[in-house]
Each structure stands twice: as structure tokens, then as C-alpha cells.
């Protein structure tokens, strides 16, 4: 039972990070029909920028909360500009091109970001300096650290804010209208280019926060870390129904829990043949299963009624 509770806690925390990254995939897919494979790497850039800021400031003796706010702020700024530039330079010229062209471009941008990061930060793992001393809270024999709690609460806060924004604000309504019919949105006075650029900025900024969370949670960063994180978040988006914002949240949390449960029980289930380091199998097993059984995902519309 302790294992179950512990893995549920770990899974929800991890899942809330997946969900934040999945939002970036799903928002861009909803509006452009493009799977932005560079999104995981934007998160990586956010993580490494945050790490650099923490390293510089922690050494100078700046108090921890201020360090975190500045690290997050810098990561958000850099990632927003990065997302904005990528959309402008790489995707906008291909808006009316066949769908394969922007997809291949996205993969190209992903590789470009990875190796530019390798040039800047090197290929070794970068460790987070000691910054926080998270306390542990005991819940039914399992432990929830204050760091985990902070990550989960912040992630949920961001997601709730975003869902509210898309549902209730003028810009959010314009985003949904553009997603459903960009030409008619233009007839209403919506500048579709602005809405798309805005979507990239919001997705990238949320990705930056997720990057900071990963760095704090695992204590390390690496130029290639966006690859697996991106694939998992993409899986989460597909699981929830890609294009559906609520689906990304649900898919992210579910995937985190599935993965944590699997890594907690995989040893017992396989008689010790496979260890918890095989947990990545489960994320992709989920991806394959969803694509076979319900390609539109848990909350997605089936292809037909997307007008």
C-alpha cells in the first residue's frame, strides 16, 4: 500500500510536468495542425537557462526564493522569444505548404536546438547547485516533499489559469475561432498571424516553467533532455486527444501515474527480470495502444466532426 500511495504521489507530480509540456504540443496542433517536434527542446532550453541562472546567483549568495523567481523569469523570456522566432522564421513561410514540409522543418529545428545547446552548455550533465532543503510530509506511510507539493500546485495553477483564459477571455475566444476556421476568424477582424504567434509564446513560456521544474526535481540538466520529455509529453497530448487543452492536462496526469505505477511494480511483476529503469516502455506502450484503439484520444473529437 505504501508503494501504491508513494507512486501515486510521484506520478501526479511527474504527470503535472508532462501536462504543462503537453499543453504546448496540443495548442499548436489545434491551431496549425502541426506537431511541433521542437517543443521538447524549447523546454530543454528553458531548463538549461534556468540552471545557468541558478548557478550564477546561488554562488553569489542570493536568497533561494529570489533565485528561483529570476531563473524562471529568464527561462520564460528566452523561451518566449525562441518560440516567437521559430514560428516567424521556420513555420509561417510554410503555412500553405503541404503538411509534411513543416513537420520535417520541426524535426530540423529540434536538432538545431539540441546541438546549439550542446555548443553553449557542452554535452555533459549539468548539476543543480544545492539550493533548496525540501522537507517531507508523511501521507499514509508515503512521503510527499515540499518541492513536489510546490511543483504540483504551481502546475495546476498554471493549467487552471490557461483553461480559464481560453474559455473566457477575448483572446482565448479568438484562439478557438482561429482553430475552427482561420478564414472566417479573419472576417471577424482577428489577425490570425498574431493569434498564432501568441499561441507559440504561451506554449513556450509554459514549457520554460516545466523545464525549471524538471531541473529542480531531478537536479540535473542536459542538452538532450528535451527529447524524451518531449516524446512523453507528446504521448500525453495524444492520450488526452491532441488539439484538446483539457485532454492534455488529463493525458499528462494519467501518463505520469501510469509510468510511476509501472516503475514501482515492474520488478514484482516480472520476477525481477526488468527493473524500474524500463519504465519508459510504458509511456510508449500507452502511445501505441491509444493510436490503435482510440486514435482521437480520451477527450478528442473523432476526425469526422472537426469542421
Amino acid at each position: 500500500m505504501e508503494i501504491f500511495t508513494q507512486q501515486l504521489i510521484n506520478g501526479l507530480v511527474l504527470g503535472s510536468i508532462y501536462a504543462l509540456v503537453a499543453l504546448g504540443y496540443t495548442m499548436v496542433y489545434g491551431i496549425l495542425g502541426l506537431i511541433n517536434f521542437a517543443h521538447g527542446d524549447i523546454t530543454m532550453v528553458g531548463a538549461l537557462v534556468a540552471l545557468t541562472v541558478v548557478q550564477a546567483l546561488a554562488a553569489a549568495g542570493v536568497p533561494a526564493p529570489l533565485v528561483l523567481v529570476l531563473a524562471g523569469g529568464c527561462a520564460i523570456l528566452v523561451c518566449s522569444l525562441l518560440g516567437l522566432s521559430i514560428e516567424r522564421v521556420a513555420y509561417r513561410p510554410l503555412r500553405r505548404a503541404p503538411r509534411l514540409a513543416p513537420l520535417i522543418t520541426a524535426i530540423g529545428i529540434s536538432i538545431l536546438l539540441q546541438y546549439t545547446a550542446a555548443l553553449i552548455w557542452g554535452k555533459q550533465y549539468i548539476a543543480l547547485p544545492k539550493l533548496l532543503e525540501p522537507a517531507a510530509i508523511d501521507i499514509a506511510g508515503a512521503q510527499l516533499t515540499t518541492l513536489q507539493l510546490a511543483i504540483f500546485v504551481l502546475a495546476c495553477g498554471i493549467m487552471a489559469l490557461l483553461l480559464w483564459f481560453i474559455k473566457a477571455s477575448r483572446m482565448g475566444r479568438a484562439m478557438r475561432a482561429t482553430e475552427q476556421n482561420p478564414d472566417v476568424a479573419g472576417l471577424m477582424g482577428v489577425n490570425v498571424d498574431t493569434v498564432i504567434a501568441f499561441t507559440f509564446v504561451v506554449g513556450s513560456a509554459i514549457g520554460a516553467v516545466a523545464g525549471l521544474m524538471v531541473v529542480l526535481y531531478y537536479g540535473i540538466g542536459h542538452y538532450f533532455m528535451g527529447f524524451m520529455l518531449g516524446l512523453k509529453a507528446f504521448t500525453a497530448a495524444v492520450l488526452g486527444g491532441i488539439g484538446n487543452v483539457g485532454g492534455a492536462v488529463l493525458g499528462g496526469l494519467l501518463l505520469g501515474v501510469i509510468e510511476s505505477m509501472a516503475s514501482g511494480y515492474i520488478g514484482d511483476l516480472t520476477g525481477g527480470v526488468l527493473g524500474s529503469n524500463y519504465r519508459d516502455i510504458f509511456a510508449f506502450l500507452v502511445l501505441v495502444l491509444v493510436l490503435v484503439v482510440k486514435p482521437s484520444g480520451l477527450l478528442g473529437q473523432s476526425g469526422g466532426d472537426r469542421a
Partner: protein, 239 residues
């Protein structure tokens, strides 16, 4: 001196992926007029409206609106100047509610109080929409969607309303209702340019008309004269 036209189109040519769908159209609409643009399927009527509203860039020719050159200006710019299109096939946002669709119509406006009054006006004009305001637009019938599309365009307070085939695919009773509304809108002082396949209905509603054939305007006259013209009667009124 000619009358000051609200919209003036000179030598408009529009190409669609290599096909010259519109090959030199001249037309003009004066403030307060109701003008019909009729013609057979594929004559280039819809393409002309798309170019006028900024959805398609013209290949050549010029568009003047309120005396200013607006050639090549995008749709989101023109709607701010009071030029609004109700597109062919209605183009409601299927996964937005009726109220949200109407709010999109008022996207360019900030006058909250006046917007609320316009909501009430549209709901008074179309009681069916008032009953269904929280329903997703995709679940409405074709006629209700047409009402919504027209109501949504009215929310931008247009000076010039372009209507593309408002009767398409609707039952006769609904067509009547839509055309009553069109006349009511015109009576409020909104200038109308109406594209229709139903030539008789269009010409009975309008004061002047243009007839298009293979991308060109072949006839331009008062509605009464067009209705009486043997050429129009044979080609478009099925006589």
C-alpha cells in the same frame, strides 16, 4: 460628377491556383443601395466576394472603399472599416456557442454597453437564436446557422454587408424568413451586395443587379430591367 460610391471595383482579376476565376470585373455600389450579383454556378461570384472582403488577393485591378484604395488589404483590416462578409456555407464556428459566435462578430468593438444592446437586437430579430444561445453552433440546423452568420456579421455594425448565397440549401420557408431579414437590415441603412443563384428572388429584393458569366460581368442594369430582359429570363429564370 458621378455619385460617390461606397465600393468601387475596377478591372478585378483573381486567380485560384492558376485558374483565372475572375477576369476583369467592374462594379460599384452606392451608399444605401441593395445590389444583386447573379450568375450561374462557377461564374466567379463567390471568388469576387472573397476578393472584395480581403480573403483572396486580387491578381490585378483595384478596390476602392469609402474613397480610399484598399486593394490587397486583408480581411481583418477591412472589417474594421465596416465591410463585412457573410461567407458561402455560413462559416459559423461549430464548437463555439451561439453567444460566442455573436461575440466573435463584435471582436473589433470595445463599447461593451452597445455590444450588449446589439446582442438583444440580434436575439429580437432571430428568436430561434435567443432560445439556443448556449448551444454549440455546429448543432444548429442550416437555416439557424444562416441566421447566426447574418446576426454575427451585424454585430460588427457593418456599413457594407456582402452576402454570399444566403438561401443555399434552405427550405423555402426559411429562404423567405432570411430574405425578410435581409430587407429589414437594408431598411436600417446598411448597404448590401447580395450574391445569389436564386436570381428571381435576388432581383426582386434589390434595386440594381449585375450578371456574371465565366468570370466577367456581362450585364448591368436596374433590377426591373434585368427581370424583364429576355436574356436573363432565358438563362436564369428558367423561361
Amino acid at each position: 460628377m458621378s455619385a460617390p460610391y461606397l465600393l468601387e471595383v475596377c478591372g478585378l482579376e483573381v486567380a485560384y491556383g492558376g485558374i483565372r476565376a475572375v477576369q476583369g470585373v467592374d462594379l460599384a455600389v452606392a451608399s444605401g443601395e441593395i445590389v444583386a450579383l447573379i450568375g450561374a454556378n462557377g461564374a466567379g461570384k463567390t471568388t469576387t466576394l472573397k476578393a472584395l472582403s480581403g480573403l483572396l488577393p486580387p491578381k490585378s485591378g483595384s478596390l476602392r472603399y469609402e474613397g480610399a484604395d484598399v486593394t490587397g488589404k486583408p480581411a481583418y483590416h477591412l472589417v474594421r472599416k465596416g465591410l463585412s462578409l457573410v461567407p458561402e456555407g455560413r462559416g459559423v464556428f461549430p464548437r463555439l456557442t451561439v453567444a460566442e459566435n455573436l461575440a466573435m462578430g463584435a471582436y473589433i468593438r470595445n463599447d461593451r454597453h452597445e455590444i450588449r444592446r446589439d446582442f438583444d437586437r440580434v436575439y429580437a430579430l432571430f428568436a430561434r437564436l435567443a432560445e439556443r444561445r448556449e448551444q454549440l453552433a455546429g448543432t444548429l440546423s442550416g437555416g439557424e446557422q444562416q441566421m447566426l452568420a447574418i446576426g454575427r456579421a451585424m454585430m460588427s455594425r457593418p456599413k457594407l454587408l456582402l452576402l454570399d448565397e444566403p438561401s443555399m440549401g434552405l427550405a423555402p420557408l426559411m429562404v423567405q424568413k432570411i430574405f425578410e431579414t435581409v430587407r429589414a437590415i437594408a431598411a436600417e441603412g446598411v448597404t448590401l451586395l447580395l450574391v445569389e443563384q436564386n436570381a428571381k428572388l435576388a432581383l426582386e429584393t434589390c434595386s440594381r443587379g449585375y450578371v456574371m458569366e465565366s468570370g466577367r460581368v456581362v450585364l448591368a442594369d436596374s433590377a426591373a430591367a434585368l427581370l424583364a430582359s429576355p436574356q436573363v429570363r432565358r438563362a436564369y429564370l428558367g423561361e
